[in-house]
Symmetry: D2
Subunit: 311 residues, 4 copies
């Protein structure tokens, strides 16, 4: 694989851009994210536990959502790793009784352990180039164990970056086999998150259900407007004055999953569909990148078909 060596010896650059800034991102921390039924004393209980071990809180976010008469509490706390007298496993073990008492859905992750993200792509390059640029610069500090595509178009580009590329064609008759293969690869490379970076195929329901909250899609409209195919054509037809993009979790109902991030851009009557596609792509890649980052940093908590996003 040519070019690979030069990449591997390349130093991280983005953070040098403004070199005197504090390198927070390189400081190791644990992130506790959780939700539970609301009640008196939750913050006190959790913060008390952390303080009891002299844990230094770098950032903490709480949210109480009381719609439909059911109050649910959401939280996300970053704790300096070296302020605690124990490591992750011990942290988890000690926190478990509190979590059980409060009936929490919870997770603790370690900033030093890179998340494993598999990228799915078809024939449009804007999101792929954008994600690999962010990965190159370590702005997106993840492992990309492989890229999977239903076309062979980007093999050269992906492999040049030193990333394995799998071409899994999806034919009308071969869908089942194709998705079995995709799932096999995803499991084999120990993928944690799957990103549909303008992957132009519909993921089968059983696969959606196998990975809830783990498959992110970028849809090229401001949902719930213009679900399904050719949203820019739909938008042009309706004569809207802004177009948008939506990053959401994939669920078994097409374009109906929990929304993570959205944005829009202004157009006018003079913009052809080609122009809308052009402007739209800028929104798509920015929205996908933001949504993916929030997800990877455990900033997105699910609440039914909605999300709490602690940006």
């Amino acid at each position: 694989m040519p070019g690979c060596a030069s990449r591997l010896t390349r130093p991280s650059r983005v953070l040098q851009a403004d070199a005197s800034s504090v390198m927070d991102s390189q400081q190791r921390y644990y992130t506790l994210s959780a939700s539970c039924p609301d009640g008196v004393g939750i913050v006190a209980r959790v913060a008390g536990f952390i303080a009891g071990h002299h844990g230094w809180i770098l950032e903490s976010r709480y949210h109480s959502d009381d719609e439909d008469g059911q109050s649910r509490y959401f939280m996300r706390v970053d704790i300096k790793a070296d302020s605690l007298p124990f490591h992750l496993a011990e942290f988890r073990a000690r926190f478990r009784p509190i979590a059980e008492e409060l009936q929490m859905s919870w997770k603790i992750s370690d900033s030093a352990v890179k998340k494993r993200v598999v990228i799915m792509v078809s024939q449009q390059e804007h999101c792929l180039y954008d994600l690999l640029a962010r990965w190159q610069s370590k702005e997106l500090d993840i492992e990309i164990p492989c890229v999977i595509s239903n076309h062979d178009t980007f093999r050269g580009f992906v492999e040049w970056h030193g990333i394995p590329f799998h071409h899994v064609p999806v034919t009308p008759d071969g869908k089942e086999a194709a998705y079995a293969e995709i799932r096999r690869i995803f499991e084999e490379v120990k993928g944690e998150t799957m990103v549909l970076a303008r992957y132009m195929q519909i993921i089968p329901s059983d696969m959606c259900e196998a990975y809830p909250g783990r498959i992110l899609n970028i849809h090229h409209s401001f949902l719930p407007s213009f679900v399904g195919a050719k949203p820019y054509h739909q938008a042009h037809q309706r004569g809207v004055k802004l177009i948008g993009a939506t990053c959401h979790y994939v669920s078994s109902q097409l374009d109906q999953g929990p929304i993570i991030e959205q944005d829009v851009i202004r157009i006018d009557h003079a913009d052809s569909i080609d122009n809308m596609v052009r402007y739209g792509k800028d929104i798509e890649k920015a929205v996908l990148a933001r949504g993916l980052r929030y997800h990877l940093e455990d900033r997105v908590l699910l609440h039914g078909n909605k999300t709490v996003v602690f940006r």
Copy 2:
């Protein structure tokens, strides 16, 4: 009517804000707006006519829309009134043969003649206060012959401004009579444009069809998302990350008319429906005011169910 005198003697103020700016808005001009089948030589024909009479073009905008295989040409030209050797009626008479030759839908208006706008309102004040503030300062340089409401709430406020107020209740059984009365008033005051400034009733089809392109509504969502009632509730339910508002012409299909202007504002999971209403109102009044101004300055040309807006 108390307070009225003080208003009438009050000088225009807005344009004094930055007093050295050129008072373009007070220069008299004629606006020609038109659309016709596209072809060679349209601009040449129209601009040639104007130049032939030594007309000074202040601003001109053209657009060719060729979707669906049918090319249509749109234009809007502002001509300095005193550069022409004749007045409006003569202008119209002389332009008519060209317009007929080019099969134009066309209109010529005079900036010195104020448009007559009837405001319809229910019980929310944000759009009403906003429009009257703009009218007070002459930013919106129109005649408001009256305000009509299905509630008596704003009588005092409207009348203080020296504007007649009509309370026309709309009851389940009395709809037909109510809208007959509204149309009678609108005709009597020689209304040209009707603005539904958060008027919370559905205009009957026959009235929509009687005034095509003359009734503007502000809908409190980013259409086509969240048609109909309680759009902020719908938006909250779906978990969108931006909310918006849409100014559109009213047609006989609810919230389906041609869109004139839209805008959005960012929200997040922490925003209650009350907060969404609060943020939304700011977008609503800004979008309505922009859309109304574009309409009144003949900047909006209809193209099927879409608009060309020469901002």
Copy 3:
């Protein structure tokens, strides 16, 4: 004062707009806002205190700012009033030892006590109309003990709303006396916050210093661009593609105080200065209203010449 009666008997309306929404805003709560040197256990200490009295936390926000090697901790907590076994004075008394131990700047306010806001205005109405509309509808649930102006222009409009109006002319020779009078009125009416709603005079340094963090201004540019007079002219001259507005605390250095809120709107080469003024006014009033609300809800904490805004 004509019209006054009708106002006073008018029911609150805004919140009826979407009537089924939960009336959170009418639920009484106490807001604790504070900042202190950062350290281990602050959240635990505060949340523990609240939980110890069975206080129900409605919303809590924390932020650690560690720039310049000095870590400072900021917090804002809303606690349901009737979940606590005591009233505000007792709350303050019991919290004081903790605040002192943690070296806090702190404040506890009661949502049932309306803030007293004096509005200062000159000859432009957009911010005044906008604030009074919000006050009318109780969106802005404050007391406005009076409006003060260096012109008599808005007397009728303000008095119609049942609000006292003071005309305090500011002449080159009479500045000192004028500001002495303004301060006298502000003190007399027990004003807590002063809002410069496009008040086109420079507040003298001694008055700025007398009310730190209590005087809000709306500046009609995206600061730090275009400080001082005629910012739209400056923007037009420089050829920027967006114009903006800034809500900030007034300090003794003109347009240099801590920024609370900002926003922008797109313009282009075709926009005259008059158009920029027109678009700008929409941004000004929205930014001022948001900034003022954040301030009144104790969401704005000062940090040197910057703000932490817990929106």
Copy 4:
């Protein structure tokens, strides 16, 4: 050069994305862009000339700018190439007398002739990746004869795309020689436009003056705020609530050249400088790409130190 073959045989893809859209962009047209002193009959004269040769106007834009008492007229017209009975040279020859009569600055370009753009880069990849992705997909349908950098970092990436890469180090003592070399390369490859895609060196005055309106820079702030080095640090220091980026022509005064395009993104107190850099990069690349496209499509006309941008 590995990978190169696969690129060259790769089909254009972007426009297939929404394959049924009309392929306007592949229709050949001539673009006339011009400015001249304002007067009666300019549009008539130009449109009459085009119509006289049966030229089909695809898009036309006009603007009259009358600031400072001097009226200047700007125009941009796209004419279908095959509607004219002659080619570009003949078009130019026949138009010249009109242009001279009207004292025009003017230019006619041919959409079938690709513009030659040299990219300058330092060590940040976001703009480079972004531009090459757009070039790959032919969204940006240009020739890139080479990339020049003061570092060798991106040699592999650029060469993989089949584009020559020149490393021209800039040392304190060797500046003059370095810029002489850069100009030599630019001339040798017949560069028409130079794009500073986060090239972190100051271009010497004589080079700026040698290529007026031909060197585009992306500055990572919303100018005129935060001129010069480390704008995100300056923005953090001032506590602004939005950050931005500016695409402008380079002039001999640092960050003072005519602004082509700008945009902003919202931040808050919780965003570290690293986060601001991260968000800012998304704005930078979008703004640079839009500004570059407007420039390449002759949509940007200079007017003193400002631009008219016919988007």
